[in-house]
């Protein structure tokens, strides 16, 4: 071992931190090297000097100060003040809070979804009503496509299902072409298409709730037609009308005028099954 290697290990040798073989090697070098041996003696002298230095005395009152700080820290922590203890949440309170929170989120989502669906429905009906006079077939496609419209076999409607009361014929030569079942966000309703020899088309929708939202931003006029309060909406040269007929609401699209609306109200009121939804 040379001096450089020995001096690198000298502190570890002095402090007895070397493994036996390394310590033996250093020891062997020190026997032959007075310079390195002198350095080791310097370490010894320094160590003795350090062992004699005065031991500082810890001032009194340190623990009291620490204890006061700990007490202050303890009081600052949530739940450790008097008010904090009163407000300390129990598991039940946490669970209740989470439940209420989840309910509010769901309610918010449901409300948002409902509003969103209503806005979308108003937009669909706006297109439907706008197209109906000029292109009743295309208008029909809008509703059928959007709301999964499917033809109904009126003879096969089971008990408990929404069965339309639409008659086979309407005044002024209108004959039933088809009846569809529509799954709309607001309700399940039926739509029956009538057509006369002149090619005029009428659509009759039956639903359980009033659906003014179908008319969107269009002006709705309330008027008595055949003694029945009716909502009337102008569609270019045609009218849409909605009224209560027994437990249901009926909406007709494509009437020429108020007189036709009154006539339909009268006719359908006479046709409806008494006291049946």
């Amino acid at each position: 071992m040379n001096c450089e290697s020995a001096r690198d290990l000298l502190s570890a040798y002095f402090d007895q931190e070397l493994k036996p073989d390394a310590a033996s090697a250093v020891r062997a070098h020190l026997v032959t090297c007075q310079d390195c041996a002198r350095r080791l003696a310097e370490f010894q002298e320094l160590s003795a000097l350090a062992a004699d230095i005065c031991e500082p005395e810890v001032p009194r009152g340190v623990w009291s100060a620490i204890e006061s700080s700990l007490a202050r820290e303890h009081r600052r922590q949530p739940g450790n003040t008097r008010w904090g203890r009163l407000m300390k949440p129990s598991r039940v309170a946490i669970a209740a809070t989470l439940l209420i929170g989840a309910s509010l989120v769901l309610l918010g989502y449901w409300t948002w979804r409902s509003l969103d669906q209503h806005v979308q429905m108003a937009a669909v009906f706006d297109r439907y009503l706008g197209e109906f006079q000029e292109h009743p077939q295309q208008a029909q496609e809008i509703l059928l496509t959007r709301y999964g419209g499917r033809p109904m076999d009126l003879q096969a409607v089971g008990a408990g299902q929404f069965k339309p009361n639409a008659p086979q014929d309407l005044p002024n030569g209108f004959e039933r072409v088809e009846t569809y079942l529509l799954d709309m966000p607001c309700c399940t309703c039926t739509q029956t298409i009538y057509r006369n020899h002149a090619g005029d088309t009428l659509a009759l929708l039956e639903h359980r709730e009033e659906q003014r939202m179908w008319f969107g931003n269009r002006t709705v006029i309330e008027a008595q037609c055949h003694g029945q309060m009716t909502c009337l909406v102008q569609l270019k040269d045609q009218l849409a009308a909605s009224w209560k007929c027994g437990p249901r609401y009926l909406t007709v699209i494509g009437a020429r005028n108020v007189e036709q609306v009154s006539e339909l109200i009268s006719f359908l009121d006479a046709q409806r099954p008494q006291d049946k939804g």
Partner: protein, 209 residues
Amino acid sequence: MSRANLQHWRRNVPHGVSNLVVPDVGTPVPIADPLADIVAGCRLGNRHAQRLLYDRCHERLYRLIARMVGQQDATDLLQQVFLQVFVKIGQFSGSACFETWAYRLAINECLQFRRRKSRTPCDMPADEPIDPSASHTERTQHQELVELALAQLKPELRAIFVLREIEGLSYREIAAALQIEQGTVGSRLNQARSQLRKRLIELGWNPKT
């Protein structure tokens, strides 16, 4: 336990009884930390356990802190270190001796304190008053010289010298306290001893060797 007794105990304890290592073979022999029960109580915030821990450790930590920053600021720092100990005791994993962990916190606090005060290694003696409670006759010239010379060392070298020569920690414990490799401890101690001797001679110390 006084420092002198501690030194004696550290120096003369049979290696097989050491609570951390068997230095001759370098094989760690971990045994239960004597402070484990007290530390467990401190984890629960037990004030009695905190007081016991303070009683067991404060003298050694104070010695270290006083050597690192001077007695003038040592009391405040000792408080801070113990508050840190009690706040962070949940982070103590128990893989090392508690005291080693506490030394590490203390050294970090000291280094941060010195950075905050932006002191250079040489300015401490100027504003470090002599303890008025101790008469000059009680403090030998050599003691004063060592303290002055220590104060002029870089904090990292001062820390390692104090941990070894005054606190009597093993290299393994020093490495854990300073968060350095165990192999670095010896070379850093070489530097510390050489520089301390040089400073002492500059301050007028007459070595025998």
